[in-house]
Symmetry: C2
Subunit: 328 residues, 2 copies
DNA sequence: TCTGATTATGAAAACGATTTCATGAATTCG
DNA sequence: CGAATTCATGAAATCGTTTTCATAATCAGA
């Protein structure tokens, strides 16, 4: 593999002159430029990434943390972020935290050791106070999740509104016995806010929530099925269920159908995200503008990297939208 | 940000000694080790990634190419690969080719400029002759796709068998008018082999395939719906459809249902992958052992990086399995 | 014609880590 | 007892690029 020294030797010039040509700096004659280009081509030379990074103090790489890439919500976020990053000449390192604090912490070291220029967190496992010190090493942008104390750009969705409009919809459909189904992810402000919205809508309608109508630990299709098995064995099951994702809602609808229950007559179900699955399973769902939050988050990340200014809090909040289908 | 020079100064030792402690090389007294560790902690020192990469000629990073991360097949592959890589201390750079040759080519430069130690290709856009020269810069492993001429490790599935068993199943269910629905991805050996298997099963049963029963360009749920719209307007539509993914199959099933067609009476549909969607939509499907091929591919990649030996061809072929549900 | 600015090119330093080679002390073995 | 080996520590070189500073030639304007 040729180095800039080899190119300089073949062109009969100095490494400085070759570097000037590569980086399109001024004060090099056209003749010398030709010589350098010819030598680069003959030697099949490209600059070494590690040397460049060391000298320039830049990596042109961004790490994106997601709990699991198989979750369609996160894979959709990452798809858009990778495309935006590639457009601007950045690479995206994928980090799966699997909802684990220590996994998130070990990935934070990427910023500290300067293996990446910045990080985007799409879920937060540790307390912000554990994450905040890493801002000394590079910019952090939070996407989808939220933190009151974070002095960083945050791009997120109004989840209180999401919880509210979903629940209001169920109430407007005539349901009075409403269950709540969630991932039960302790660190998640998303889950917390949706529940606030859910309870607010219940309170406005003068409705009550029974403890046994709360279903936790549901992240996947299988979890949705398990939730239905728990629900069907209640003496007084809820008439409608608010869930945290289309997968979980689909699992519930499928298991209910298999058990001979009629959706929505015997059980109304509302999902979240409006993925292709939602249409296939005729799910009423709350649509999140994933493409918008992903591209804005990546845009803010790259802007933060380039500006080299101290991190400041900036909130970008987007609204959610109800999509009504047959499951409610 | 402290450097090794700062640590050396605070410990009253040379950078060589500090490096010996960091890298656990021999011939350093316990007392000196203590001094170094104390200084590192006080200065909150971690080694700089760019400097290490340059000196060691290693990046501990692997690039994985997928057409689109939102395709559940690919997101499942990447999930397993990222986990395996993280276990061995490697980072994974995600590269989305979007089925484009020039996108793939631009990502190949990551190997040439030594920004990654190796690449895993899960789909192949360019001719192998265009990719092969990059082996001079680092190892390449092919996963899921196939190439006769590639002198690299390949981990893939027996897609001729997959096409065959899926089609045989339809024939065994009594269907004689079989349609074929595919992504129509010209570079894909996967699609090519499945069609060979499909035709082989047809020929064995003495069945014929009409040109109008061939449906191309289908990758997504929406493409599946479009396929159904085309099919329903045929004078002599097929009784059964072999498709290339569960998404496409689900789109067809959904659109058929919406049009009042009965699945499988009016149209039998078979999918591929056995994703959660397949169970939700009651799809008969050909299951691919995604977890196995992903972890083997990453294992072979890391082995290739560490061994620094010349690339040799090695094939790992895994079988497929029929999963029968209500759509056939 | 002279002076200051611009142009053209190159040597050395810099980025930060790790390895190679050097030096001297201590230990071991014949 | 002396030679060889091992142990302990450090200086310089190395990895490969880019920038800073130096030098000389050319140009433009007063």
């Amino acid at each position: 593999m040729a180095t800039i020294q080899d190119v300089a030797k073949m062109a009969g010039l100095s490494r400085t002159t070759v570097s000037r040509v590569i980086n399109q700096h001024p004060y090099v004659t056209e003749e010398k430029k030709r010589l350098v280009s010819k030598a680069m081509k003959e030697l099949n030379y490209v600059p070494n990434s590690s040397a460049r990074r060391l000298r320039r103090q830049q990596t042109e790489t961004i790490a994106v943390y997601v709990p699991r890439i198989t979750n369609p919500f996160f894979s959709h976020l990452v798809e858009v972020m990778e495309k935006e990053a590639a457009k601007k000449g950045y690479q995206l390192i994928l980090c799966q935290t699997s909802y684990k604090k220590e996994q998130e912490r070990s990935f934070l070291e990427l910023l500290k050791t300067k293996q990446v220029d910045g990080l985007i967190l799409t879920s937060i496992e540790n307390d912000w106070s554990e994450i905040e010190p890493y801002l000394a090493y590079g910019p952090i942008v939070v996407c989808n999740e939220y933190s009151d104390s974070a002095q960083v750009p945050l791009v997120f969705l109004d989840q209180i509104e999401g919880g509210y409009i979903g629940t209001k919809h169920l109430i407007e459909q005539g349901y009075t016995k409403l269950g709540y189904c969630t991932g039960d992810h302790k660190s998640s402000r998303v889950a917390h806010d949706r529940r606030i919205g859910f309870l607010k809508a219940l309170n406005e309608a003068g409705l009550q929530m029974k403890d046994e109508w709360y279903f936790g630990g549901a992240y996947s299709v299988q979890d949705g099925k398990n939730t239905f098995e728990t629900l069907r064995n209640l003496e007084d099951p809820p008439q409608a269920l608010f869930t945290g994702s289309d997968e979980v809602a689909a699992g519930i609808v499928k298991a209910a159908g298999d058990a001979g229950w009629n959706v929505p007559q015997d059980l109304a179900v509302i999902g979240f995200d409006n993925q292709p699955l939602a249409e296939l399973m005729e799910l009423t769902t709350v649509e999140q503008p994933i493409e918008s939050i992903a591209s804005q988050a990546m845009g803010l990340m790259i802007e933060s990297i380039k500006s080299k200014r101290a991190s400041v809090r900036k909130e970008v909040i987007l609204p959610l939208k109800m999509i009504q289908r047959s499951s409610t």
